[in-house]
């Protein structure tokens, strides 16, 4: 089956979710681009947007329409060429409208899994529940005569297990987007030995057409992205818990968040990142990964406590941040949660005390947004870490320890065979997590 034919009937499962909606958008745009190719005009393309939450579908379609409009406005130069034979489409606005109609015409929103029975490709972005995923795959496969391919967006569940559970005989691979899929450049590609060459080739071509950076990962729970993130998060949580012997827990959380953001020059502190992903999601991913990890306990009692107290983070439907470890106003942290007291403590009441304890940032430390744009990022970062080695402040010391642990986690992903090379680990952190320098480097040791 050739590339365009494979895309002629696609189903996205969990299409109204945060990941699913992005995957739906990218898939529909790619299907439309195939449809608009001169040789494909007679072919019929369908992308089923399946989600159990019927009430979320109208919003989903609005979101897709807005995003397709933006995409069309960006590529009108190309679209004028693709629609050159449509005499009635003269102005840019005519062409943009026609393109939106064409893309929207491909998408079939609905709640029924039966839509996938005619598909040749299924993108799965339902919740991180291995049993649910396997059950859906099995049901679809048993009712689908096309021997469809299953691309799962799981960030943590091993693909081999899903393949076996659902009886797919190698017709499944991991195609893991980062949040939000429409923006983030990274896709982790997790193949298993029984995948056909044709399927792998198709996955690479699709990622390329979607303008994604592919990093291959071995089929070990958590893969590279969560393999690093979960351990990094656990380290941050434990560092805060240890610090809580010297200061109240909320101050320790604030201190470690600052270390992992400003001292490490990352886009977000670790607690803000946990909130962004969701306290409940991080806890859940650890739970999914933990059974596969020998000699290691990926589990945090502090996450359990927050979860039980109903503090979950994540995002509202409009994309704004819900409160988690931190409380946010206009996207900026203003208070920190203290689980002992069950309340948020305003940063203004203790922030300067913690900062004095940490000590000043070295003058050489740029803000992340400046470092990430600098042409000589590595050199600049190295200079900052050289300063940490001689400063002797709490902040410098904790930052060094943090960066060394991050490096160790990265190197273990390579030695465990999750990642093929140190470079792959660094690419995931640089493109999927927007770090300004890779964790595996020479300057933090």
């Amino acid at each position: 089956m050739e590339y365009a034919e494979r895309l002629s009937n696609v189903t996205v499962l969990g299409a109204a979710g945060k990941m699913g909606s992005g995957i739906l958008l990218l898939t529909a745009l790619e299907a439309a681009d195939q449809m608009l190719k001169p040789g494909n005009r007679e072919k019929h393309f369908v992308v089923n947007a399946v989600d159990v939450t019927s009430s979320a579908l109208p919003e989903l379609m609005k979101y897709i329409r807005t995003q397709v409009l933006k995409a069309a406005e960006k590529k009108t130069v190309l679209l004028r060429k693709l629609y050159a034979d449509r005499k009635e489409l003269i102005e840019n606005s005519d062409i943009i409208d026609a393109y939106i109609d064409d893309v929207m015409g491909i998408i079939r929103p609905g709640t029924r899994i039966e839509a996938a029975y005619d598909s040749t490709l299924i993108f799965e972005a339902v919740s991180e529940n291995a049993e649910l995923k396997a059950k859906l795959f099995r049901q679809i496969d048993e009712n689908n005569a096309h021997k469809p391919w299953f691309f799962t967006n799981t960030s943590s569940v091993p693909i081999g297990g899903l393949d076996k559970e659902a009886g797919l005989e190698g017709r499944i691979l991991g195609f893991h987007f980062y949040n939000p899929p429409a923006v983030q450049k990274l896709v982790e590609l997790i193949t298993i030995a029984s995948n056909s060459g044709e399927m792998k080739e198709f996955a690479l071509q699709l990622a390329k057409n979607m303008r994604k950076v592919i990093v291959p990962s071995n089929d070990i729970a958590g893969f590279i992205g969560n393999g690093h993130f979960m351990r990094d998060a656990l380290y941050g949580i434990n560092q805060a818990t240890a610090l809580a012997k010297e200061m109240p827990l909320h101050e320790a959380i604030y201190a470690v968040n600052r270390i992992s953001q400003d001292f490490l020059i990352r886009p977000m502190g670790i607690f803000q990142l946990i909130d962004y992903v969701g306290v409940d999601v991080v806890r859940f991913i650890m739970k999914v990964m933990n059974p596969y990890m020998a000699n290691e306990d990926l589990h945090s009692p502090l996450l359990d406590r927050l979860f039980d107290l109903g503090v979950k983070g994540g995002q509202y439907a409009d994309g704004s941040q819900k409160d988690g470890f931190l409380k946010y106003e206009k996207g900026r942290p203003v208070s920190v949660y203290n689980p002992d007291k069950g309340e948020y403590i305003p940063i203004v009441t203790f922030g300067s005390r913690v900062e004095a304890w940490l000590g000043e940032l070295p003058g050489s430390a740029p803000a992340w947004k400046n470092l990430v744009k600098a042409p000589d990022k590595e050199t600049l970062a190295a200079k900052v870490f050289d300063n940490y080695k001689t400063m002797g402040t709490h902040g410098a010391l904790l930052a060094l320890q943090y960066a060394r642990r991050s490096r160790e986690i990265g190197m273990k992903l390579v030695s465990d065979g999750v990642a093929a090379t140190a470079e792959d680990v660094n690419t995931v952190l640089l493109t999927g997590f927007f770090h300004a320098y890779g964790p595996i480097n020479d300057f933090v040791v």
């Binding site: 406005e73 009108t76 130069v77 190309l78 679209l79 003269i90 102005e91 840019n92 606005s93 943009i96």
Partner: protein, 405 residues
């Protein structure tokens, strides 16, 4: 001509500009520019007629009938004759020509000439559709998404082919640098606050045909602007009525006004024939040659149009305009300073207002009112020239101004 006034050229580059916030409309700019001129001529009571140049308010702002805004500028203008004129980006120039003809015909002693455009109401990709109305609509389908950048990119492509790409791209970059450096001297200019250190290096960014045109990049293009300009066209009698001193006025020494067939293609894309024709008539009617000019405001909607303008006036033979610019002759300290407040690329291009803005700039230079942007006007060269072009070299208004003796 007396009492020129330019509003700010509003759009990207100005720190007040925020595309997500509501912004002033046509009314604001017309009022500010109109009142700015009226204040200098003893009030609206001295005005006999009004003329408003505007290109596409009907689409940018869903507003036609701009002539009847005159009474909004000042109640004393209500019930006075007022006309809106349109000739694409030469609409401002047509407002001047119309005013001049009224004065010459004896029907008015004082004409308030305005030009206005508010373009930032739509994204650039839709603005391109609107501005494409300056071309022949039957040819829109085959045109580029960014229609006019596409037209002038094609001209640039032919020029590259004939006379060399490298030197021409360098000349484009120099043109851009001159434009921004001049704009930095003029507080109303859109690029007034431009802080880029190496302008020529930036302007040498390779064009990207996938997202824009084959031969031009965004630095080769004029700005998308909101703004208005106003100036009063008066007889000697009118000058007295307004109480303006003769040395605060410039004399209109010559006019060249030409419109070519909108449906015809240029004979040689590396030439602006209509510009050359209109300039020739303007200079002849003023009884001077290009050598008598102290400054020129030319219609540099694109860098290539700037260079072709240099050639059309006759400062350089065909193919040598790029060298003329690279040798520094068009800079503010060169042989013949061009676009001394930045032109369409540096000052801005509120399309229907541009012709009037050019006249105001020359009036400022010849009367010593150009502030930090002031150049010296040699006694033996008391003339300035403006060239306002509509569409792809289709309607052109060239005016020669003379410093009052």
């Amino acid at each position: 001509m007396i009492a020129g006034y330019n509003t700010i050229s509003m759009g990207t580059g100005r720190k007040e500009f925020n595309p997500k916030k509501e912004r002033p409309g046509l009314e604001h700019y017309l009022k500010e520019a109109g009142q700015g001129t009226l204040q200098q001529i003893g009030g609206a009571g001295n005005v006999d007629e009004g003329v408003v140049g505007n290109f596409m308010a009907a689409r940018f702002n869903k507003q036609a009938h701009l002539g009847a805004f005159l009474g909004m500028i000042d109640p004393q203008l209500r019930l006075k004759p007022s006309t809106r004129v349109e000739g694409a980006c030469a609409s401002g120039g047509l407002a001047l020509v119309t005013g001049i003809k009224s004065v010459l015909s004896g029907s008015a002693e004082v004409v308030l000439a305005l030009g206005v455009e508010v373009q930032n109401t739509v994204k650039a990709i839709y603005g391109a559709d609107i501005l494409a109305g300056a071309g022949w609509f039957q040819r829109r389908k085959e045109g580029h998404a960014y229609f006019f950048p596409g037209q002038f990119s094609d001209r640039a492509g032919v020029y590259f082919e004939k006379y060399g790409r490298e030197k021409t791209r360098k000349a484009f970059a120099r043109w851009y640098r001159n434009a921004v450096e001049n704009a930095r001297l003029c507080p109303t200019a859109q690029e007034y606050e431009n802080k880029t250190a190496d302008l020529e290096a930036l302007a040498l960014t390779e064009p990207n045909p996938k997202s824009f045109t084959d031969h031009l990049n965004v630095f080769d293009c004029s700005k998308v602007s909101d703004g208005a300009s106003a100036i009063a066209i008066v007889t000697e009698e009118g000058l007295k009525r307004c109480g303006v001193a003769p040395n605060d006025a410039v004399e209109i020494a010559g006019i060249g006004h030409a419109a070519d067939d909108l449906t015809a293609l240029p004979a040689d894309p590396a030439r602006l024939d209509t510009v050359a024709h209109a300039v020739k008539i303007a200079l002849e009617s003023a009884g001077i040659t290009a050598g008598d000019l102290a400054t020129v405001e030319t219609h540099d909607c694109f860098t290539i149009a700037g260079i072709l303008g240099v050639e059309a006036i006759g400062f350089a033979p065909q193919g040598k305009g790029a060298d003329f610019v690279l040798e520094g002759h068009t800079a503010r300290d060169g042989k013949i300073p061009f676009n001394t407040t930045g032109g369409l690329i540096g000052w801005g291009h509120p399309t229907g207002a541009t012709g009037v803005h050019q006249a105001v700039t020359i009036w400022e230079q010849l009367t010593g009112k150009a502030g930090a942007a002031q150049i010296s006007i040699p006694a033996e060269k008391p003339y300035g020239l403006s060239i306002n072009m509509g569409g792809d070299d289709r309607t052109v208004v060239a005016i020669v101004y003379k410093k009052s003796a």
